[in-house]
Symmetry: C5
Subunit: 90 residues, 5 copies
């Protein structure tokens, strides 16, 4: 996973089948010092995260498992998903 | 997924089996501030995206699922695909 | 795998199913000279690593196999896991 | 996929089983402006690409599918393969 | 695959099940000009590579296939493996 900050949401009507009704968040990745790296990730959110919140994003099969536990989830169009809303770190 | 801007299309006659008839777009990745990162991705497009459009690109099984829902899609030669044509963000 | 240093732990109550009871560590990646790269990874830990320890982090199916050997582990929400606590290198 | 330029070939006698007879090319990745990024990828080639040619490289299951269509190709030792020899872009 | 130079070996007693008896090498990635990128990878070695040798490293299923051909290798804790010991390039 990476750690990042939610910076916005994506709006779209033309999108691939499998993304209908999915909430897509823009997440700005954080570096080891907690600052922004500049890297932007677009992640599916089922945890109801809001702008400004500190989150972790999972990729690959980890991301699909956020939406529905595998192995019967290979049909999910999801390569990145919000996995944790961070309350504290240290 | 990453977010990027379509900057062109690739033309080729010598290509691997499985790419016949596929439209391949060049996408310049965007950073957390919306600017270009310099990173270039070549993605399959089935959403009819055009040059200059703001898109997201999915990777891995997410990309294959853009073309055909899994799990019976492991024969697809696709590691990156246009998943969303972005209309707005914020 | 990458090599890094454990720099902290993540605390959360809102998290995806499958992460209950999991210990999530923040790992700062190290470069070829042993210094910090700035890259931050969030990894599941089952080896009881502590802050300041030198570790390696595995990704993808390698990470799932740290938690439970495959192939029957595709339900694990894990894309990064502590694989080794490094005692020496050279 | 990424886009890059073939800059050479790798020669070796000690290599893993599954790479016998495989042609391994060195590809220098190109950025969004067409210039070199400095990143180097080693990719299997079955399209007979030559030094100086403009190519795309596929990764993961996409790369395995360049060699043999899936899903029965998980035995292939291939994480990167030349997918397209680019004739034009724009 | 990436190309790199073996710069050392990792020693550990506390490690995940599946890594017992595995030789873990530190590999410094090389860029398109042959120089160091600074990136460090930790890879399993079954080719008996030594410090200073020029190698390629495979990732994902490619890495698992270096150890044992798939598809029955998903239990292997291996996300990176030495695939080739490079003798020459050009």
């Amino acid at each position: 996973m990476i750690r990042g900050t939610v910076v916005g949401q994506v709006w779209a009507t033309r999108k691939a089948r499998g993304l209908e009704g999915r909430k897509l968040l823009l997440v700005a990745a954080r570096d080891a010092d907690g600052g922004p790296t500049g890297r932007l990730v677009v992640a599916i959110d089922v945890l109801d995260a809001g702008v400004g919140e500190d989150v972790t994003v999972a990729f690959g099969s980890g991301a699909r498992n956020v939406l529905r536990p595998g192995p019967e989830n290979r049909d999910l169009l999801c390569d990145a998903a919000i996995a944790v809303i961070v309350e504290g770190a240290g």
